[in-house]
Symmetry: C2
Subunit: 339 residues, 2 copies
């Protein structure tokens, strides 16, 4: 399989809800007016906590610093796996499950922390720029690696990178983070770029003006066990939207495209406390058991928490799976302490 | 004829170009998302100097004060003439010309300063709330006057208003303001409210992101003798747009509706220095000669200057007309000073 290191150099930041007005002008441009910006990698994810934005340096320049913005102190590079028709594992599974064993697990073992951004089209793995040598050495066995430079794909070999950065393999047992499963159902959609204008007002309405918290929601709004979650990305000209099935009803039904099966997805939200950006293996602890069970999953990291989306009819087995794993780790810890 | 005093209580303000980002969030709502706001009278006019906003108090609440905003210290009421099929003067002329003799001139004579807002649908005359008694006494002879209250039209008679506010008639000779005539041509258009979303991205692009000054304009942009001018209004559910014919090309051609003649308009811009809000007779000095010559005109006041739009093929005679009037006043002044 091929692994591409994309040209985008990405910054990751959090925008406070109360500061959204401050950024509406540049965000409008990044969302809807691609001709007005040189940004090619833009992702905006609304969660109850904040808006997480991942965007390349061209886009980042458009966002003036303010007290409402927190930026992760690192530049991230974007990895993308091209299957070349040869799927890793079952050809049925999609999303992060497909790269769990080949990318996610090895990077976790080599102490590389990753952020994931699944879209309708593909799955992006974000790694810190400084970790790139380790990433290449770790994955060169499994993949042909190419670095995109000025539009060309240049092969990268292990010899190109110093081995001095290779970190010791991860040995300690991972922190197992609590998971929650909100009751709302999600769709994973795309829109043809030339029809984006036709959904612009609804998109703006949903993203910028649906700010009443769930407690104050009108009848028909999200219930108490649901989560506000809306992810929009515009990457290299491709649009991807993840939204609640209720929210989807606000959009013209003929313009949002989904896979032919039209399935709905449930969310597993990872983290009781904000996860931070240094811990390794967070994605792996979810993706590996799902890969073992052949369950597809999209995965979207945000500034505070991670979010996996699994097929609606698989949510119960996923939750069981993750609970069993938690018990197993607890058991391992107890026994290793001689209890 | 009937004159309606509408329910809207309107504020008039100027937004500095450099502060537009500060107001993008509320303006988006006022422009495109009528369900998110209780504002029923909203007008935004871009000129080289600033953005002039006229909006009712519900809309005004959405705009937080800042160093970028200047607000006229008055509340304005909105007058609207219903022709009842009986047109004043020629049935061919439209716009402010039609009400020049019956409304504009009498108000000027009674020292009532007015702001005009012509739209595709009609012409709104804004008067200060405190001038309403004078307005009613001045116009009651010519019109049946109705005040809209909670959706009903209540007849108003002169007896309802105190006569103590009636000001002396205006006797001094008016200031004659210089006029300019930029070379660009304008269209006066409407859009069906349910197709507004289809032009939303172009509208946002034109209003919020076309900010390079004419000097730096790309080839094909406005020339040196042209003016940046774009007026959008959404009043009681009706949309009106005045834009440069070049700007119109950016919009989908099938969604903008104009009168069947599809004529183009040229601008007469009134004022060498900002006009302020206290002087009376500024509209009258333009509208009366046009009425005498049976030339249609739309008229849009902004924070600093006034703008009349006249049929393309009438611009030369209008300019001649206004110059002759200027000379006449100059002559009158010279002779009255005994020179």
């Amino acid at each position: 399989m091929d692994l591409r290191i994309l040209e985008h150099r990405v910054r990751v930041l959090s925008l406070a809800r109360r500061g959204l007005w401050r950024y509406t002008h540049p965000l409008l441009k990044l969302l809807l007016l691609p001709r007005r910006t040189r940004c090619k990698f833009f992702s905006l994810t609304e969660t109850p906590e904040d808006y997480t934005i991942m965007l390349d340096e061209e886009g980042y320049k458009e966002l003036p610093p303010s007290e409402f913005m927190q930026v992760v102190d690192a530049t991230w590079l974007v990895l993308n796996v091209l299957s070349n028709g040869r799927s890793a594992g079952s050809s049925q599974v999609i999303g992060v499950t497909k790269i769990a064993k080949s990318v996610i697990a090895p990077l976790a073992e080599h102490s590389v922390s990753v952020l994931m951004l699944s879209t309708y089209q593909t799955d992006y793995i974000l790694v810190r720029e400084k970790d790139l040598p380790v990433v290449i050495r770790t994955l060169a066995g499994e993949f042909d690696i190419y670095k995109e430079t000025n539009g060309d794909s240049i092969p990268v070999s292990c010899d190109d990178v110093s081995s001095s950065f290779l970190k010791p393999r991860h040995e300690t047992s991972p922190t197992v983070h609590p998971v929650q499963s909100p009751r709302n159902k999600f769709c994973i959609l795309t829109v043809a770029p030339d029809t984006l204008p036709a959904i612009a007002t609804v998109l703006l309405d949903v993203l910028f003006y649906s700010q009443s918290p769930p407690k104050e929601a009108a009848p028909g709004g999200p219930g108490p066990d649901t989560i506000r979650f809306f992810a929009f990305s515009l990457i290299d000209g491709y649009i991807s939207i993840v939204m609640d099935a209720e929210t989807q009803k606000k959009f013209p039904s003929d313009l949002l495209l989904t896979s032919s099966s039209g399935e709905l997805w449930r969310m597993v939200r990872i983290g009781g406390q904000p996860l931070g950006f240094d811990e390794c293996g967070i994605v792996a602890q979810i993706a590996e058991p799902l890969a073992d069970a052949d369950i597809s999953a999209y995965y979207i990291s945000t500034f505070n928490f991670d979010h996996a989306l699994v097929p609606e009819d698989g949510i119960d087995s996923v939750i069981q799976l993750l609970h069993r794993r938690q018990e197993a780790v607890d058991g391992w810890r107890s026994s290793s302490r001689g209890l």
